[in-house]
């Protein structure tokens, strides 16, 4: 009971918070999914721009060579000349109709660069068909891949990877002329070949200067200029060995997290290269932060409200305790003068002559002072927890004495008392407590059930019924008044509760009588309960009988 209020308050606070948190978590998740989709879309769009630059570069050169190559004279000196003058061309080779190499011409003394070239191209000398047959390994379309973990695919040997699908040059009169790109890795660098097959099956191959290829692509891609369009994202180009070839974008941004990374493979013929895109995480988390902040503010509000309520409750309890203590102090102070009043009133009664009027007046003074004493005792026993003194008492006599006090008052109101006292043996009980119980029950009868005209006071002993239980002393006080409604029955034992209907109208009372009676009963180890009867109310006091020994 003591912790009920705090628990209710905590529930009141946490339940809406949890609900809100769950809702915002769901919302956040949704938002995240939406943002992820947007991020991917934007990443793809921006990467596509870069990829288009690279695609255009290769297309431009393919077109250029497509128109130039048919005009080349295929003599050794003119091929030498071409290599010597074209910056893009690293080396050239020519495969004759017999699938044998015509250029570089077989010799015993190659220059160093030619020697290396012949080594690099071994796979072509073995089978020139590979240039245009091996394209199935790669899609021409770039594909999205997972963040790069397996970057180290260095190839020590000439590992032939790919060649573009065959392009037929429709402009040309001869349908058998075709050309395309091919690419493979040699040691740590990439080899890019543009090949062209003449109508007579001769194949010429151009090995691109890979450094210039890289430099050209870098020159075409954007730089890092700190412009507004470049804010919040960076891109970088990763070569076939997993090394960063070039990066550009927002100056303040670095490739830190794997989370906001989007990788795309480059199109042909650089299909082992990747383009990585990384966007600022700030943009993405802004929403989450805001909702977290709102949630926090709401939580603080709820908590402070709960705290305020808790404080208020405590204040009320404290105030009530103060009042009770004040009342009990006052009551205590009243006790001494009241005792004197009673004493002298009784003495006065004795010394008065038999004049009925004076007798009657002094009787009233005595009765009222007795009533006041009971009232004060009630208040005091409510506020102070008196000790229980169990002793063997003649219980019937005790009860009879207590009831005697009420008889004059009852008589005035025409209320008849029916005694059925059947216990002729001493019983262990607290006589003060019992006194108070009977007092309170009878004063209730006096207040609320006078119209019933009678009150039954019954005592009895219920013997041992079961082996492990004890015998009981029972006291029943029954009136024939209006009775207590079903609803009020639940509450009558609570302090300060007063049945709120016409019965209590115009009747004064503190509302603590029954709760004191119950308290006293419980202290003695007894119970006090309302037992159902067909008319009026019946209170039953049930005390287990202890062995006198």
């Amino acid at each position: 009971m003591k912790y009920r209020l705090p628990i209710i308050l905590v529930l009141l606070i946490t339940l809406p918070l949890l609900l809100l948190a769950w809702q915002s978590y769901r919302l956040l998740n949704n938002e995240k999914a939406v943002q992820q989709a947007q991020f991917t879309q934007l990443a793809k769009l921006r990467q596509q721009q870069s990829i288009n630059i690279i695609k255009d570069y290769f297309n431009k050169h393919a077109n250029q060579w497509q128109s130039q190559i048919p005009q080349w004279s295929l003599t050794e000196s003119s091929l030498n000349q071409i290599i010597h003058q074209s910056p893009k061309i690293n080396q050239l080779f020519l495969i004759g109709t017999d699938k044998q190499r015509d250029y570089p011409i077989e010799s015993t003394q190659y220059s160093k660069s030619t020697h290396h070239f012949i080594q690099r191209m071994q796979t072509i000398w073995d089978d020139p068909e590979r240039l245009f047959s091996n394209d199935q390994q790669y899609d021409q379309e770039s594909q999205t891949i997972a963040p790069p973990n397996t970057k180290n695919f260095k190839r020590k040997t000439s590992n032939f990877l790919s060649s573009t699908p065959v392009k037929t040059v429709t402009k040309n009169a001869s349908p058998s002329t075709r050309s395309g790109w091919a690419m493979w890795h040699w040691e740590s660098s990439v080899i890019v070949i543009y090949w062209h097959q003449y109508a007579d099956d001769k194949i010429i191959g151009i090995e691109l200067n890979s450094s210039l290829l890289m430099a050209d692509i870098i020159a075409l891609l954007p730089d890092t200029d700190g412009s507004v369009e470049q804010q919040h994202y960076v891109q970088r180009l990763i070569n076939g060995n997993g090394q960063i070839a070039y990066e550009w974008g927002d100056k303040k941004l670095n490739f830190t997290q794997q989370k906001n990374l989007h990788s795309t493979l480059l199109p042909y013929p650089l299909s082992t290269w990747q383009l990585e895109y990384f966007a600022s995480p700030d943009q993405q988390q802004a929403f989450g932060l805001i909702s977290l902040l709102l949630l926090g503010i709401f939580a603080i509000l709820l908590f402070s409200m709960g705290y305020y309520l808790y404080q208020e409750y405590h204040r009320e309890v404290h105030l009530a305790a103060q009042r009770v203590s004040f009342v009990s102090q006052v009551s205590h102070e009243l006790k001494t003068p009241l005792t004197n009043i009673r004493l002298y009133a009784e003495m006065l009664e004795d010394s008065l002559d038999d004049e009925p009027k004076s007798q009657q007046y002094s009787q009233i003074i005595v009765n009222e002072s007795q009533r006041l004493t009971r009232l004060i005792n009630n208040v005091l026993s409510f506020s102070r927890k008196a000790k229980v003194h169990l002793s063997a008492i003649n219980i019937d006599e005790e009860i009879h004495q207590t009831v005697e006090y009420f008889i004059p008052g009852f008589k005035l109101r025409h209320l008849q008392v029916n005694f059925q006292l059947n216990v002729n043996q001493p019983i262990f009980a607290d006589s003060d407590g019992l006194d108070q119980i009977v007092n309170n029950l009878l004063s209730n009868v006096e207040k609320y059930a006078v119209k019933g005209k009678q009150v039954d006071i019954i005592t009895e002993i219920i013997p041992v019924l079961e082996p492990n239980s004890s015998a009981y002393f029972i006291l029943k006080i029954r009136d024939y008044g209006k009775g207590i409604t079903q609803h009020a029955q639940k509450h009558i034992f609570k302090p300060f509760y007063r049945v709120d209907d016409h019965i209590s109208e115009g009747v004064s009372g503190t509302g603590i009588g029954l709760s004191i009676a119950l308290q006293q009963a419980e202290r003695m180890g007894a119970t006090l309960s309302l037992t159902p009867v067909d008319q009026g109310a019946c209170f039953e006091f049930k005390l287990p009988i202890k062995d006198l020994n």
């Binding site: 910056p87 200067n209 430099a215 870098i218 730089d223 890092t224 200029d225």
Partner: protein, 463 residues
């Protein structure tokens, strides 16, 4: 003396002929060098001179000799004659440049802006982890604006050198023109640690840019850069290379560099040597070239005003009878004259005379060619020594250089005493190098200085 004088060359244009002698003595040779100044008309053409180190050979035996093909740029009459330049300054703005280095680099770049005028095109590229085109290729008319951009450069990040050069090349390409001097000036103080970074990759790029008509000058600042990468890039594109240990010297180096750039008189210089029958090519010294059968091809990106550039070709000449004259080679040069904006050709024939008299042979030796040949041969040894040192074979490297010193002394002793000074200085330099190469102390710095000197000699760089 006059008796031996043989007129070898009659140029295509008779008016342009030059006197080149196969039997020239030193005194005659020096007269020939002055020839461009003597004839004002020649002053607008490249001066071509081809010499043999031994114009007279002992009969009855085959022998090795050097062919030196020397090209000297003509004098520019006035500043107004100079060719407009198209320059990309590629600045390292990586974290290591912070402080004094950055300040000096900015000063140097500001100086460069002042040296140019509104006919020139300039772009400025800054590179760290990423590359920024700070000033896209533009005519140098608003100097104030360009300078304010230079002042704002901040140093931070790593070194994407390759990408920096790539962007520089991209800016040059916007106004790439045979009639301009197209040059990238690269400044770096650190290892290229972002993007392609091997010397061979940079060399390949240099070669390609050279074919496009650009050259790259590389300036290494401090002792943190990769000298192999920087010399390869400069070497293959025929630019200059400098080692600037102290950032305070940066402005001076820029001054020299712009002195060179703004005095280019010829570009795209193709040299074609065809050897006569029986003459075998052995090796080209210094510059890279193509040797295919009896044809040797090489190319210089540019010639600077009043500067001599040469190539040395070692050949084996077959035996002959006394008094016989044998044609050795014909030299053809084809270049773009920047002053007159047209292509011009020059040619030259070389022949050797056989003699039975050893004294005659000795007297005929062309001592200046011997000096240059000796220097270049030793330069090759020095390269080899550095390679040995890189492999950890310090002693062997030192030994090779000590042997080289002896070789120089030996060659020097065959010269007239008045011609010995140059090789004495050189032998001093090599013996210093021999000491340095064995020592472990400061090798990083010494290697850079050595590489830079090696490069200068190989390319006959003026500064």
């Amino acid at each position: 003396m006059k008796k031996h004088k043989i007129l070898l060359n009659l140029g295509k244009n008779l008016g342009n002929f030059l006197l080149i002698t196969g039997l020239a003595s030193f005194s005659f040779n020096s007269a020939a060098r002055e020839a461009p100044q003597m004839h004002s008309k020649k002053a607008t053409q490249i001066h071509l001179q081809a010499d043999l180190s031994a114009p007279i050979m002992l009969s009855g035996q085959k022998d090795k000799t050097f062919i030196k093909v020397s090209l000297t740029g003509f004098k520019l009459d006035s500043k107004a004659d100079r060719t407009p330049a198209n320059i990309a300054i590629v600045l390292d703005r990586s974290g290591s440049m912070n402080g004094e280095k950055m300040k000096r680099a900015k000063e140097a770049a500001l100086l460069a802006v002042d040296l140019l005028n509104k006919n020139d095109i300039l772009s400025i590229i800054g590179y760290d982890t990423r590359v920024g085109v700070l000033v896209p290729a533009t005519k140098v008319s608003d100097k104030k604006h360009i300078k304010s951009i230079i002042q704002r450069i901040r140093a931070d990040g790593s070194t994407a050198l390759f990408a920096g050069v790539s962007k520089g090349a991209g800016e040059i390409r916007k106004f790439l023109d045979k009639e301009r001097i197209n040059r990238i000036i690269l400044l770096s103080d650190g290892q290229a640690n972002q993007g392609p970074s091997s010397p061979s990759e940079l060399g390949q790029l240099g070669a390609a840019l050279s074919k496009e008509g650009m050259s790259v000058t590389t300036i290494g600042l401090g002792v943190g850069y990769n000298e192999d990468l920087m010399t390869q890039l400069a070497g293959y594109s025929d630019g200059n290379h400098a080692f600037v240990e102290n950032a305070a010297d940066l402005a001076k180096v820029f001054q020299y560099e712009f002195g060179d750039v703004l005095s280019v008189v010829a570009q795209d210089v193709m040299i074609n040597i065809t050897l006569s029958e029986g003459v075998k090519p052995i090796r080209l010294l210094g510059r890279e070239g193509d040797i295919k059968g009896n044809i040797i091809k090489t190319r210089l990106n540019q010639l600077y005003s009043e500067q001599e550039k040469y190539i040395l070709l070692e050949v084996e000449i077959p035996e002959g009878k006394a008094k016989e004259i044998k044609a050795v080679a014909s030299v053809k040069v084809d270049y773009q004259n920047m002053r007159y904006k047209k292509r011009e050709q020059l040619d030259n024939q070389l022949s050797v005379t056989y003699s039975a008299v050893a004294k005659e042979v000795k007297q005929a030796i062309n001592q200046p060619v011997v000096i240059e040949a000796t220097k270049q041969v030793v330069n090759e040894y020095r390269k080899k020594a550095v390679k040995l040192r890189d492999k950890g074979q310090r002693k062997e490297a030192g030994l090779l250089l000590s042997k080289s010193v002896n070789f120089i002394k030996e060659k020097n002793s065959t010269l007239d005493s008045k011609n010995r000074a140059e090789l004495n200085v050189y032998s001093e330099e090599i013996s210093n190098d021999a000491e340095d190469i064995v020592n472990t102390e400061n090798w990083n710095k010494k290697r850079k200085s050595l590489k830079a000197r090696e490069y200068k000699l190989e390319k006959q760089q003026k500064y």
